[in-house]
Amino acid sequence: MPIGKYSKLLIEHFTNPRNLGVLEDYDLKLEGFNESDGDKVLMYIKLSEGVVSDIKFKIKGCPRAIASTSFTSEVVKGMAVKDILKIDEISIYEKLEVDSSFECIPMAIRVIKSGLSSL
């Protein structure tokens, strides 16, 4: 089936989301919302020596929200907190080839950065 409006990477993450699920043993449980489309995400993060050692999420959202959350979770897993805080959300739009006006794309990175910066 031709899927013209999404990039290959976005389709790949939407159809096969990484890190979907819950963590029983976590340090942070974060909720994020995108009010404009009713998207919501629940993030579980496990930290180990300043690094995100594990991450899982549950989500209700559009294909872009699901794919960007999956993509973001893959990016931050194994990354140092100080480096995650430096991630520019524009880079996620660019990687997934989505117009920067879609508010669902940075939902995951915003909630992760907000949670980590409050530590």
């Binding site: 979907l20 559009c62 006006s101």
Partner: protein, 383 residues
């Protein structure tokens, strides 16, 4: 398997109509205004199609004006009637198609007083509100016969009765109803109506307006004076004859199609019961056959539509995040019928067509269940 369930957006051309069009385009390409034999032949086909379409809706042939489709027919009826009137108040419903709503928006900018009539939770127009808002300066009421998203039918006869008492013209956008329901313009008492061929298994780019004899109206397109001067431009005779053929097929088989859609609807509803936490939108009885608007709790309609699309199933969603504000992410129709927040983002529309088979509907139902449950699994957590 490919399953097309988006016939309210557009329908495939019926195979018989397609064969007819191919043959017609090869042989009868004359301009209906030409005076030689090919032109006269085209004119004969044109007038024959006009007679047959008129008979289908119990109109007179001269009351049928061929257009390029539903949007043009809506524009002709609304703008044309207003061009012939000095009155400045116009009324439409909040759940109209953009072809009407945007025309009204334009008219508001031009100085008309626009009244947007609310609907109830089933999408049925509030008649009390309508009556209260008709005054001596009201020129026109435009209300769609069947809604394109939720399928609800409007009480057009009551609307026409009300309007007649006050000397107000009534137009109906019948784009979603034509071919699916028996339409008798005299029985309804309507002054103007719009229809589009590609919604009833005819070709795209052709439609018609019914304008009751004696209705004051002025043309909105200027040119060679075709269609009684109301729609200049060479008539699309192959398209018009194909439209007539498609409408004839729909009329002849209407009962059979309705029974088939009813049966398919039951299969889908049984699956919905298995899925649970869903809501059917629109009026449950007064509705156009073959259309179901379903809202699922706690899932996103666009994600569901995409998952179905990847499995070869074409449906539409009324809650796509094609934009960036809640105002635009959810359709104006769903907002107007006041759907619960938990359901509003999870809406898809199923619009069956004559080509659908039971095997396809079963495949769709099984796939729908699989996709909805998979999306629910994604958000099944202790929020």
């Amino acid at each position: 398997m490919m399953v097309y369930l988006d016939n309210s957006a557009t329908s495939p051309i019926h195979p018989e109509v397609l064969d007819f069009m191919y043959d017609f385009n090869k042989k009868h390409y004359g301009n209906a205004s030409s005076l030689h034999f090919l032109g006269l032949e085209a004119k004969d086909y044109l007038e024959n199609a006009r007679k047959k379409i008129a008979a289908t809706i119990n109109a007179e042939p001269e009351e049928i004006i061929f257009t390029s489709g539903g949007t043009e027919a809506d524009n002709l009826c609304i703008l044309g009637i207003l061009n012939a009137s000095k009155k400045k108040r116009i009324i439409t419903s909040v759940i109209e198609h953009e072809a009407v709503l945007e025309t009204f928006k334009h008219l508001e900018e031009e100085g008309y007083e626009v009244i947007l009539n609310p609907v109830d939770e089933d999408g049925v127009i509030d008649l009390k509100y309508l009556e209260d808002n008709i005054n001596g300066d009201t020129a026109l009421i435009s209300v769609m016969l069947a809604n394109n998203e939720i399928g609800t039918l409007q009480p057009m006869e009551k609307i026409c009765d009300l309007a007649e008492k006050h000397g107000v013209m009534v137009h109906t956008d019948a784009v979603q109803a034509m071919g699916k329901l028996k339409i008798d313009v005299k029985e309804i008492g309507i002054d103007a109506l719009s229809a589009s061929a590609h919604k009833f298994f005819g070709p795209k780019g052709v439609g018609f307006a019914y304008i009751k004899n004696g209705t004051p109206i002025k043309n909105i397109i200027f040119g060679g004076g075709h269609e009684r001067g109301l729609r200049s431009g060479t008539e699309n005779v192959p398209g018009i004859t194909a439209m007539e053929k498609a409408l004839e097929i729909c009329e002849e088989n209407r009962e059979e199609y309705s029974v088939k859609y009813e049966k398919f609807g039951k299969i889908i509803k049984n699956t919905l019961e298995e899925i649970g936490n869903y809501k059917l939108n629109g009026h449950m009885k007064k509705r156009v056959p073959g259309t179901l608007s379903i809202s699922f709790e706690n899932i996103n309609g666009e994600a569901l539509m995409e998952m179905l699309s990847m499995r070869g199933i074409a449906v539409s969603t009324a809650s796509a995040c094609h934009s960036h504000s809640k105002e635009e992410a959810v359709s104006h129709v769903l907002k107007a019928i006041n759907i619960d927040e938990k359901f509003i983002y999870g809406t898809i529309r199923i619009a069956m067509g004559i080509e659908n088979t039971e095997e396809q509907i079963k495949y769709f139902s099984d796939t729908l269940k699989e996709c909805v449950l998979s999306l629910r699994e994604m958000n099944d957590a202790d929020w």
